[in-house]
């Protein structure tokens, strides 16, 4: 069976679920005929027809509201925003409506929508195309925010997101889209939401990360082994709601934590994780929890982009610093 990239895994998941459930509708700009600007929806129009794969007019707020209306009626819309930088016109529909219609009708109406979008920097794109503002959505009650980091997790988590009865913001790290291939069986098996995934085990330090930074974190982990440091790597995957249990169990064991995310430092989801570690595991810590993140700046244009994204070296340095507290 073929090995596929992350973006191909997205397509595979969409195709699988659309085959299985006629309520699943894909919509967005350029998703039908063009198959999506990253080809995430390629082939779906041919397979499922123009009633289920919709090229919308160029209006993000409309995409948001349209998807809300469809979802409330019991369809399962998977709406694409072409880049996270363009999701903002739909914030009203996402926060004021999708996130709260179940709550405000006391469960009478609900909104099983998936809003998916390429996100993050590292593809040398023009400005506005490199956003990582997952913290905005992680802050909103009633939403889920899910971020895959591998083809297998993209497949399994997207299936889970589509099947979930509540709104999910599904953020796809664009610089991982075609980065590597992995064997992903098209068996329709979803991965669980609301849980972390432990990718490497180790006793010395816990590395907590998600999205494209999983790549740098795993290679940092390999380098650290050469230095005699065994790091445990946790892919948070669902950043809202957070599975703190997994993270705390790991920190309990290692006593050290480095949190890595591409998004800017202040108010990033790393801050929430660090706060919860301080509240619940202070007495097991051997060193302060440390965050390695993007700077509190606008993502620079492509020439300086690579200095913005936390590098393997920054991660390794942070780990060495926490190991100094013995």
């Amino acid at each position: 069976m073929a090995e596929i990239t992350l973006v191909e895994a997205i397509t595979q998941a969409l195709a699988h679920e659309m085959q299985k459930d006629t309520d699943v509708i894909v919509l967005g700009e350029d998703v039908a005929k063009d198959g999506g600007v990253f080809r995430a929806t390629v082939g779906l129009l041919d397979k499922f027809g123009p009633e289920r794969v919709l090229d919308t007019p160029l209006a993000e707020s409309m995409i948001g509201g349209l998807a809300v209306g469809m979802a409330v009626q019991g369809l399962k819309p998977v709406a694409e925003f072409q880049f996270m930088g363009f999701i903002y016109p739909a914030i009203d529909q996402i926060i004021n409506h999708a996130a709260r219609i179940r709550n405000r009708t006391r469960g009478r109406l609900s909104c099983p929508v998936v809003f998916r979008t390429p996100y993050g920097a590292g593809i040398h794109a023009p400005e506005h195309h490199s956003e990582s503002t997952e913290a905005l959505f992680a802050h909103v009650p009633g939403l889920r925010v899910v971020i895959p980091s591998s083809p297998a997790r993209a497949y399994g988590l997207l299936l889970a997101a589509i099947r979930d009865p509540d709104p999910v913001i599904f953020l796809e790290p664009s610089r991982l889209y075609r980065f590597a291939k992995q064997e992903v069986k098209d068996n329709g098996q979803a991965l669980p939401l609301d849980t972390c995934f432990t990718l490497r085990t180790g006793d010395d330090v816990t590395l907590v990360t998600w999205g494209a930074m999983v790549k740098e974190t795993l290679s940092a982990c390999d380098r650290l082994i050469e230095a005699g440091i065994q790091a445990e790597v946790i892919d948070v995957a669902t950043i809202k709601p957070l599975d703190m249990e997994t993270i705390l169990l790991s920190v309990e064991k290692t006593g050290r934590c480095v949190i890595i995310h591409e998004a800017p430092l202040t108010g990033g989801v790393g801050a929430e994780i660090a706060a919860q570690i301080a509240e619940k595991a202070l007495f097991l810590l051997k060193a302060p929890p440390v965050r390695v993140t993007g700077f509190d700046t606008i993502v620079p244009y492509s020439r300086l982009e690579k200095y913005y994204i936390p590098s393997e070296k920054r991660i390794i340095d942070a780990v060495h610093r926490t190991m100094e507290f013995t």
Binding site: R106, G107, D166, P241
Partner: protein
Amino acid sequence: MKIIERFEIPYYQFLNENSQIADEFPLIAENKQVLPVLYQLMVLVRMLDAKAIALQRTGKLGTYPSTRGQEAVFVGIGHALAKKDVYIPYYRDVGSLLQRGVTFSQILQYWGGDERGNFFNPESEDFPHSVPVGSQPLHAVGVGYAIKYRHQQRAVMVTCGDGATSQGDFYEALNVAGAWQLPVVFVVCNNQWAISVSRQVQTAAHTLAQKAIAAGIVGEQIDGNDIIAVQHRTAEALKVARENYQPRLLEMVCYRQHDHTTADDASRYEPKDLREVEWKKEPIARLRVYLEKLGIWNEAKEAALLADCAKKVDQEVKDYFDLKAQSLVSMFDYLYATLPSAYAEQRDILKQMEMVDHG
């Protein structure tokens, strides 16, 4: 140079300000069963509305937006809706919601600060009150798409005010409804004011109905104080939507006979006497005179109606007062289908608070 397109916006009125019916009129104008029903409903709505204002002024209700003067619009469109249609209100829709199985006590609950006011009834597919102005027309196109996708013979109606027509979302909704030919009837209740901004200041367009032209759909203007025109044109629009999946924009022209909400003071911006001048066109008196002309209404009936309405109003208010507050944990219980374990701790805090408070 050649003109490559021209547009027309029709205006509909059958019962004029002097209660005279036009030469050509729709069937409903002769319907002696339905007309009194519409009248009674409008009278009830006005009374309930006045009561809500009084409740707010006596500290028993939060901010409330009056529907005074706009009774014909909402009673008329509510009557035209079929049970199977979907309704998406904004926040002045008392006259229509009452015909959709919502009680006034539920409406009071909503403005009184209790989410259960949006519950309506378990089978209802209608959307709850919408506060972010102009965001709900987009929901209507989503619903419209679902209807079309499932090949159902239903329509969805969405209401909004004149102010909402300036929102980008409003236009985006009209546009996609036209582009995709969706069974959506957009009703704009043009009561001439968006808080303190008059209709003239809101847009340079001569009518709001013509905004439909830009989206390539049909738009018409209707005298919102003439319930016969309102009901008839709405019923037509819904029929066309249901049967042909054709969207339409209906602009109901009426007047806001109260402040924007009980938290507003229109005397700060509304020209003196304008309300009084507009009151001459108000819909309830207009219809009453007509009914009397038809011989189907009189003083005795009026007295009986008022007494009956007063009873209904009292009952609704009693039901509202009798309602006990929700449990504190209800804050968490409708966030997700199943509350994620990440929030169990916080929910417990509320539970503890409740045990302390409520004993």
